[in-house]
C-alpha cells in the first residue's frame, strides 16, 4: 500500500514536471525560431514566419485566406491575429510586449504614431512607400516615414435607394431625387416627411438606431464629430489634422450643427430614444439590411456587413451615399468624409530579416496579381498605390460610391480630422455624454461644455 502510494506520487510529480517542461520547450523553440535569421539585412531566407496584427474584424477571414496563399507561394507563414472591435490598442499593447510580437501592426495616424514611435521602423526606402500615389498621406516625421496608408475610406449617410424611390413616388414628396438633397434643410424636410409616411414606405423609422452602447458609439463620438472638427480647424494653411492635433482647446464652434444632424437621427429613428443605450452597431446595420430603415450613417466598410446579414433585402445597386449635412454654410460643396485611419507600420524591435520579410509580404499584397485581386475584391480596399490600374478598383458598391464622390466636380471631401482628437478617453466621455443627452439627463449646453473641458484636460494629461 505504502509503496504503491509512493509510486503514484512519483508518477504524478513526473507528469507535472513533464508538462511544465513541455510548456517551456514549446515557447523556447518558437522564440529562437524568430531570431535565427538575424544575419544580414536583405536575407530573409531564415525567416519562417511573420506576424500581422489585423485591425479589421470584419475581414479577418479574408486575411487568413491571403496568408494561406502567401505560404503556398513563398513558404513564409503569416500569422494573422485580429483584435476585437475597439480593442486594437489594448491588444497591441499586450501583444507587442511578448517574446513573439507582431511584426506588422497598424497605427491610426499621427496620434497613434506618437504612441508607438519607439516601435515604428523607418519605411522611407521601401518599395511600398514609393508606390504610394499620394506621398503626403503617409505618417512622417522629420526625414522618416513611419506609417504607410493602405486603404482610403469614406463615410456618410448610407441610404437604400429602393425605399427612396418609393418615397419619391408618394403624394407630396418634398423632392423627386436624392440629387436634390444638398443641404441639411432639404435633408430634414425629406426625412421628416418620410417619417410621417413610414407605414406607407414599410419602414419603422428613417434612420437606423443611433447605437450608443459603450464601445458601439464610435459612429457618433468620432465619425459624426469629424464634421464640426473639420470646419473648426480647416482654417489655416496647415492640414486640419495638424491644426486639430495642436489645438489645446476646443471651441466647438459648430456644436449646433452637430446637434442638428444628431437630433435628426434620433428623432426619426426606428428605435425609441430611451432604448438607444443598449443598441450596438451590428444591430443597427441589421435594421438597415432587413429594410426596417432607409438611412444609416456608416462607411464603405459596411457593405460586407450589410450583405452578410441573414435576410438582407438591400440590393447592391441600391446602396448609395449622402454627405453628412448639418447646416454649415457652403455645405452644398461638401463631399463624403474621406481619409484613412489605416497605416501599416513595421515593428522596429524585431530583427532586420523579419522586418524585411514583413515588408516583402506587404509589397506582395499590393503588387502581385493575386494580392491586388484580393485587395480589391475580398478586402474591398480603395488602395492608394500606383500599382493599381484603373480597371483594378474595388468591386464593392459602397467603395465605388466613395470613389465617384471623390471624383465629383467641385466637391470637397471632408478630411478625417478626428485623428487629432486628444485621447480615447475624450471620445468615450463624449459618447457617454451623448447617451445622457438622448436619455434626457443632460442638457445640450452641458454636453458642449463637458466636451470642451474634457478636451482641455485630456490634451494636458497626454501632452507630456
Amino acid at each position: 500500500m505504502k509503496k504503491s502510494k509512493k509510486v503514484l506520487a512519483l508518477t504524478m510529480a513526473g507528469c507535472m514536471m513533464a508538462t511544465a517542461f513541455a510548456g517551456c520547450g514549446g515557447s523556447g523553440s518558437s522564440g529562437s525560431g524568430s531570431e535565427s535569421g538575424s544575419s544580414s539585412k536583405a536575407d530573409t531566407s531564415g525567416v519562417k514566419s511573420i506576424y500581422f496584427l489585423n485591425f479589421k474584424p470584419e475581414i479577418a477571414d479574408k486575411y487568413e485566406a491571403i496568408a494561406k496563399q502567401y505560404k503556398e507561394e513563398t513558404g513564409i507563414e503569416v500569422k494573422v491575429k485580429t483584435a476585437a472591435s475597439g480593442e486594437y490598442e489594448k491588444t497591441l499593447t499586450s501583444e507587442i510586449a511578448k517574446s513573439d510580437p507582431p511584426t506588422i501592426f497598424q497605427i491610426n495616424g499621427p496620434v497613434g504614431y506618437q504612441n508607438w514611435a519607439d516601435y515604428c521602423a523607418d519605411l522611407k526606402d521601401t518599395e511600398l512607400y514609393n508606390l504610394l500615389s499620394d506621398k503626403t498621406l503617409a505618417v512622417t516625421k522629420d526625414e522618416g516615414v513611419y506609417g504607410v496608408p493602405y486603404a482610403v475610406e469614406g463615410y456618410g449617410i448610407i441610404y437604400n435607394d429602393e425605399i427612396m424611390q418609393k418615397y419619391f413616388k408618394t403624394d407630396g414628396a418634398k423632392v423627386k431625387s436624392t440629387d436634390e438633397i444638398k443641404s441639411f434643410d432639404t435633408l430634414k424636410l425629406v426625412v421628416e416627411d418620410m417619417t410621417s409616411k413610414k407605414d406607407e414606405l414599410g419602414i419603422e423609422g428613417v434612420f437606423g438606431s443611433t447605437s450608443l452602447k459603450t464601445g458601439d458609439d464610435w459612429r457618433w463620438q468620432t465619425h459624426l464629430m469629424n464634421v464640426p472638427l473639420y470646419y473648426e480647424f480647416n482654417t489655416g494653411s496647415e492640414s486640419p489634422i495638424t491644426t486639430c492635433l495642436n489645438a489645446k482647446e476646443l471651441e466647438f464652434k459648430y456644436a449646433d450643427n452637430y446637434k442638428n444632424l444628431f437630433d435628426l437621427y434620433t428623432d426619426n429613428s426606428c428605435t425609441d430614444k430611451k432604448l438607444l443605450g443598449s443598441k450596438t452597431v451590428d444591430e443597427s446595420m441589421a435594421e438597415f439590411a432587413t429594410g426596417k430603415c432607409a438611412m444609416i450613417q456608416n462607411g464603405n466598410w459596411a457593405w460586407s456587413q450589410v450583405n452578410g446579414v441573414d435576410g438582407n433585402v438591400v440590393k447592391e445597386e441600391n446602396i448609395k451615399f449622402l454627405p453628412l449635412y448639418m447646416g454649415v454654410e457652403g455645405e452644398d460643396k461638401q463631399g463624403l468624409c474621406v481619409g484613412t485611419e489605416n497605416f501599416f507600420s513595421i515593428n522596429s524591435h524585431v530583427d532586420e530579416a523579419t522586418q524585411q520579410a514583413s515588408i516583402d509580404f506587404l509589397e506582395w499584397l499590393f503588387t502581385s496579381d493575386y494580392g491586388k485581386k484580393a485587395v480589391t475584391t475580398d478586402l474591398g480596399f480603395i488602395a492608394p498605390f500606383t500599382s493599381f490600374g484603373d480597371d483594378e478598383k474595388p468591386a464593392d458598391p459602397l467603395a465605388k460610391e466613395v470613389l465617384s464622390w471623390m471624383e465629383k466636380e467641385g466637391m470637397e471631401s471632408v478630411v478625417w480630422t478626428f485623428a487629432g482628437i486628444p485621447s480615447e478617453n475624450w471620445k468615450n466621455e463624449f459618447g457617454a455624454s451623448l447617451l445622457e443627452y438622448v436619455q434626457g439627463q443632460k442638457d445640450w449646453s452641458k454636453v458642449v461644455d463637458d466636451a470642451k473641458a474634457s478636451w482641455k484636460t485630456e490634451r494636458e494629461a497626454t501632452a507630456e
Partner: protein, 280 residues
Amino acid sequence: MQKAIKKWFPVLALPTVVAFLISFLIPFIMGIYLSFCKFKTVKNAKWVGFDNYLKAFANEDFINALWFTVKFTIVSVITINILAFLFAMLLTKALRGTNVFRTIFFMPNLIGGIVLGYIWLMIINGVLHYFNATITTDASYGFWGLVILMNWQLIGYMMIIYISGIQNISPDLIEAAQIDGANSAQRLFHITIPQVMPSITICLFLTLTNSFKLFDQNYALTAGAPGKSTQMLALDIYNTFYGRVGWQGVGQAKAVIFFLIVAAIALTQLFLTRRKEVEN
C-alpha cells in the same frame, strides 16, 4: 512516509513554486515597480516616483468608482449571505428533493462572469423594454442589476458552504436545547449561528473580496454606463490603463492601491470573524 515526504519535498514542490514565481510573484513585483514608472510596454519603463499615485488620487473617476464599489460591496455581501443562509437552512430540513435543489442553486456559479453579464443584460433590458428604458437609463438600474447578478451567481456557492457547516452541528446540541425548552429563534441564534461561525468567516471573505474585485460582470452588464457612474474599481483601472496615452503608470498605481485596500479589508474581516469562532 513522513521521512520520504521530507526528502522529496523540494522536488515535489518545485513545479508549483516555479509556476507561482512565474505567474504570480514576478509579475506582482514588476507591477509594483511599474506603478512608479511611466511606460508604454513593460520593456520601456522610466522611473517617475510618486507622480502616478498623486494623479490617481486627484482623479475623480477613481474616487467615484471607489464609492460605487463600497456601496455595491456592502449591499451584496449582506444580501448574498442572508439569502444563502436561508436557503441552507431550508435545504437541510428533511424535505424531498433537497439534493436536486442544492445542485440547481449551485449551477449559476459554474457559468463565467462575462456570459452571466450578457445573459442578465438581455433579461434586464428585456424587462425594462416594457417601461421604455434600458439598464443605462439610470445608474441605480445598473447598481441593482449588478446586485441581482451577483446574488444569483454567488448564493448557490455560499449556500453549499453553509449547508456543510449546518450539517456538522452535532444533533445532540440541538436536542439538548430542545429539551431545555429553547424555541426555534433561540436555537438559531445561540446554537446554529455560533456553530457555523467558521462557514460565516469563509463566506464573508469570499463575498467581500469577490464583490470588491468584480470586473467581468461589471464590464459585460453596464461597462460603466451611463457615463462612468456604474464603473467599479477594477473597470476604472482597466479604462485608465488603456484610455489615455501615457497613463499606463497611473492605471498601475491605481491597481496597487486597489490591492492594498482589498488586502486590508480581507485581513480585518478575517481577524474579526475568527475571534467569534467557537470550538466544537
